[in-house]
Symmetry: D2
Subunit: 139 residues, 4 copies
């Protein structure tokens, strides 16, 4: 997983379910924490609203479950920019426990205007910052 | 539990934890659902903000756990007004599974002004509506 | 939405986020509640484990967000069986607020053996019960 | 807060509600993460089940809310052992944002036998480990 942005996440009891494993819905929270820290790593302190008047919202998500994570596991949750448009981007994400894959996901995020919630272009600066990361990931 | 306001709540997998029981934090969500429906039963369609410019916020909560609820249980979650002031009220709440008590709680809720979040009196109409319920419960 | 299995779900404050809307991850909980009640409507009192020794687990999920639901909304959450195999099934699901679509989802669920978590065929009785529902939905 | 065990916790969107603040129920999750890491710091890798056959369960909780935490805040969540018995302990906990107190809590945790869920004494080694910490905290 070299060169990918990734954060460690510890599994707490709040994340588990009666099956004794992480409740599958909660992986989506882990994925968002990773995307949030990815944006923060680019210098955006309010990652959900990286620019005045613009909000990032999830447009669609696809997730495939491979293995179950367990209480007290430490997971690695990665984020890469797979596609980048002027008003939307698609993240590729993975959750690993050591060298075992737990799940993979594709999450499309759109930029909207906070006033009317309509699609809205990212500024050139944030577009360039995301693009730079993307190129880096793709090498 | 006659004469108490109460709603049924089904336990779903989202509510459980790796202990195979309802995650104890989630009972607080059940308690709030019951308080919310209690306010709605008094005619307030936006129970968290029953009056323009006023917001109800939780000031403190005490909860005692007696038994564990399980996946697929149907619980009864009751709400009574135990104390009523002009700008705050204390709810007594219980969660039952049939005739077994699961937990009991005391939740103090304060009325605050939405603009500055400072304590603020309830209007006479809502105060009277709550008071009427309380008297009924206490008979 | 005639002929589809559907349950009403009220939005509580626990379901919302700082954007003032339902936190998008929580729709997956609503979808599971509907699938659970769908299985219960077929006579399975322990819907996650409809048969001794067999467990239903989510294999993958795709969700598309169209509109945001708000605090105090009452939503309708539908479930249909779109594909049915001997050891897996695919559900088509929708969340509506009146005649506005909130989101759509495709959720693939696999049947596994509780002992080794390996794929395992559903019994003929549950397969037939699901198949009957499916035909009904498709008319 | 010198000498107290404390961990930093970042507020994510999953933790907030439509009031634009952390949903008050979720502070209980933060408190448990801190207690869990406190136990882990004593060398217990499975903090909810520190010893074979014994489980730690929450018996009661009291929480007082003073201020609201916001999206993207970094909080400090502390844990001290306030009372220690052979089969139960009481934790004093606080959540701070810089030098502003967010909430305080008292959480009583009991040790039960995993087989019958009845109260059960902690082993001498864990009792001593907790006692040592407590003395340290009280200096």
């Amino acid at each position: 997983m070299s060169n990918k942005f990734s954060i460690p996440i510890r599994v707490y009891i709040e994340d588990t379910d009666a099956g004794g494993i992480v409740y599958y819905v909660n992986y989506l929270k882990y994925l968002e924490r990773s995307r949030t820290e990815f944006m923060r790593s680019l210098g955006y302190n309010k990652p959900a609203m990286p620019e005045q008047g613009r909000l990032l919202v999830v447009h669609s998500a696809e997730i495939q479950y491979r293995r179950s994570a367990l209480l007290d596991d430490v997971l690695q949750v990665s984020t890469t920019v797979d596609k980048l448009g002027r008003a939307a981007m698609t993240f590729g994400q993975e959750i690993w426990r050591g060298n075992e894959i737990i799940c993979t996901a594709v999450v499309k995020v759109a930029c909207v205007d906070t006033s009317d919630r309509k699609p809205c272009a990212l500024s050139t600066s944030i577009y360039q910052a995301l693009k730079a990361t993307n190129q880096y990931e793709c090498r």
